[in-house]
């Protein structure tokens, strides 16, 4: 599968504006190779917009480098081919295709037209492996639209795996999941980070405390704080701006999300 090279993500002075409104205002962020970085912040802080900028969906100024490659200025599908994969807040699997077909398409961006013109025979090895990793082997022939919500999210992650993404950008991967599903997803992230760099946008504080290796807090388009979970939680600015009230950092929010 992947893992030839482990690269870090380097975001320098990235700005995104829409008609005069600056959604991301000079963000700098270094995500070392193999990290599980959580990106948190109140609504409108610019988390998703930052990921949009990294993946080429919106135009941005500044510099985003993954390994040696500059990402800004490239079209979406080229950035993807450099090994950057993302998921979306709402699940966006191809519901009218089977789980297997979803994965096969995700694995095939580098296929030639000659390969595309032929049928798929059997299950390619990397797809079989991904199916096991995300626990959907038994559902491989089912339409993706019939999967439960959590399974769709795993399928999304599986698609990133076969896509050979070396940087995973996950936008609220555990939203709407049960506790058990969250645990499973967290364990999956830990496995994946062995040979990939992972960035997660998440609101769930409980999930963050358990699985984040480092945290970046965004507020109003800027980096408010950065560090380990403990460091960030102890930061008075974070408590004030993001968590609302200083004591008992995450519990109120977690209660609402769950």
């Amino acid at each position: 599968m992947s893992g030839e090279r482990l690269d870090g993500l380097s975001v320098r002075d990235v700005r995104v504006s829409f008609d005069g409104f600056t959604a991301v205002d000079g963000v700098c962020m270094e995500v070392p190779a193999g990290d599980i970085r959580f990106l948190i912040g109140p609504n409108g802080a610019g988390k998703t917009t930052l990921v949009d900028a990294i993946t080429g969906l919106v135009g941005a100024t500044g510099s985003v480098r993954f390994g040696d490659e500059e990402l800004l200025g490239r079209p979406v599908h080229r950035i993807s081919r450099l090994g950057i994969g993302r998921t979306f807040q709402t699940s966006s699997v191809f519901e009218e295709l089977s789980v297997l077909q979803n994965l096969d398409i995700a694995a095939g961006a580098r296929r030639s037209w000659a390969t595309l013109a032929r049928r798929r025979r059997g299950v390619p090895d990397e797809i079989a492996a991904a199916l096991e990793t995300i626990g959907l082997t038994e559902q491989a022939g089912n339409l993706a639209g019939t999967l439960a919500h959590g399974q769709k999210q795993w399928l999304e992650i599986g698609m990133l795996l076969v896509q050979d993404a070396r940087l995973l950008l996950l936008d609220e991967p555990v939203a709407g999941m049960s506790h058990e599903e969250r645990d499973a997803t967290g364990a999956l992230l830990e496995t994946l980070s062995r040979d990939r760099t992972v960035v997660v946008i998440e609101h769930d504080m409980d999930f963050l405390r358990r699985f984040a290796r480092s945290v970046t807090v965004l507020h109003a388009g800027r980096v408010l704080s950065e560090g380990t979970v403990t460091q960030v939680q102890a930061d008075p600015r974070v408590q004030e701006v993001y968590l609302g009230h200083p004591v008992d950092a995450g519990s109120a929010r977690t209660g609402r999300e769950a």
Binding site: E96, L97, R120, T137, A148, Q163
Partner: protein, 393 residues
């Protein structure tokens, strides 16, 4: 979208080492082979034996329309590009063929009759000349529409024009083509088009035997196109096309350029329409702006919608059924057909968005991707589908 089942069991299911079953290849292939054999028997034995020469000639015409429909099925049903201008490609193919046949009728060095009639031309226009050679004209019937579709598609898909905007654009193209043809009466035959075509590569088209031969060519071509379409749909490209239809942006994030994926389907559909136009000319003996404008372009689409746009066979059945109904009903109740056609379209879109072909797969939900985004039509159709699903699950 609603989750069909409640939240899944606690832990992820343990990995199973059994390789997931792919589509049941053997039986499906057998069924397809049987289907093709049945279709061939119908077209090559039953129809010629049962139908009069007149009806067989009509069927030949319908089958040409069906070829266009097969292409629309790929572009619209599988690729999500609602093309309301297939008449353009049909026309390019038709005119290319008709120009060659007119020149052949006129003999070496001769000019088509209509040019002498109302043209002030002393000699053949430059752009007509290559069509005197069958080696140019025949490939041109397919390649010319494909080239136009390629040029147009490259511009349009890269700029991410889609949905209703694409539909309107394609329709405007059909209108523009008709205006162009009518405006250039001296060299295109204007409103009359190219008529009175007598010969087909040395065969007299008035002879019923030769008409029958044309019918067989058309039937054989249609079967070949169906085989090609089936291969396309079940290839990896076919799966990718459905993915682009349902989530163009998502496909982009997987590293594909959706514009090229759509372009291929659009160009293939244009080639099929061109071939259909080319064969339409010897079958009917005429090609004119009225046969390729906005109205016929929409009628192509109605047939596809009625039959089932996302299946292989649906467009063919729909196109033939609608064309047949049109003839049968307008023979008996002239003037009502337009209303009936409109009604038919509304009913299908509202209550059976997958077309007649979906009646089959509603009963046995098998062919993946065969039901195009019901939710994009009226929700009524969606609810019906779910109701039939529940007891099966």
């Amino acid at each position: 979208m609603t989750a069909v089942t409640p939240a899944p069991p606690a832990v992820r299911p343990a990995p199973v080492d059994a390789v997931p079953p792919d589509r049941p290849a053997g039986r499906a292939r057998l069924r397809t082979a049987a289907g093709f054999a049945f279709g061939a028997a119908l077209l090559f034995a039953v129809a010629p034996l049962m139908l009069s020469d007149f009806r067989l000639a009509l069927l030949a015409k319908y089958l040409c329309v069906a070829m266009v429909a097969v292409g629309i099925g790929i572009a619209w049903g599988r690729g999500g590009m609602l093309t309301l201008g297939q008449g353009v490609f049909f026309g390019l193919g038709g005119y290319a063929m008709a120009m060659h046949l007119k020149l052949a009728d006129a003999g070496p060095g001769g000019m088509p009759d209509f040019m002498q009639l109302y043209g002030q031309l002393d000699e053949l226009p430059l752009w007509w000349r290559p069509f005197a050679s069958p080696w140019f004209a025949l490939p041109a019937t397919v390649l010319l529409p494909m080239a136009v579709a390629f040029g147009l598609g490259s511009l349009v898909f890269r700029r991410r024009v889609r949905g209703a905007y694409f539909a309107i654009l394609s329709q405007a193209l059909a209108a523009a083509m008709v205006i162009l043809l009518i405006g250039q009466q001296g060299t295109t035959g204007g409103t009359n088009g190219l008529t009175d075509i007598k010969g087909f590569f040395g065969y007299d088209l008035d002879d019923p035997v030769n008409q029958r031969m044309v019918y067989f060519i058309i039937a054989g071509t249609l079967l070949a196109l169906l085989a090609l379409t089936r291969q396309l749909i079940h290839s990896r490209y076919g799966e990718l096309l459905v993915a682009v239809r349902d989530g163009e942006e998502r496909v982009r994030f997987l590293g594909y350029d959706p514009a090229s994926v759509k372009l291929v389907a659009y160009v293939v559909a244009a080639g099929m329409a061109g071939l259909a136009g080319a064969l339409f000319v010897p079958a009917v003996g005429i090609i004119s702006p009225a046969l390729i404008g906005i109205v016929p372009s929409i009628e192509f689409v109605i047939g596809v919608a009625v039959g089932g746009r996302a299946t292989v066979l649906g467009p063919v059945l729909g196109a033939v059924a609608v064309a047949w109904a049109r003839t049968a009903l307008s023979e008996r109740f002239p003037g009502t057909w337009t209303y009936l056609q409109g009604l038919l379209f509304v009913v299908v879109v509202a209550f059976l968005p997958g077309g007649l072909a979906s009646l089959w797969s509603l009963a046995r939900r098998r062919d993946v991707g065969a039901q195009p985004a019901r939710r994009r039509w009226l929700s009524l159709g969606r609810r019906r589908v779910e109701r039939t699903e529940v007891p099966a699950a």
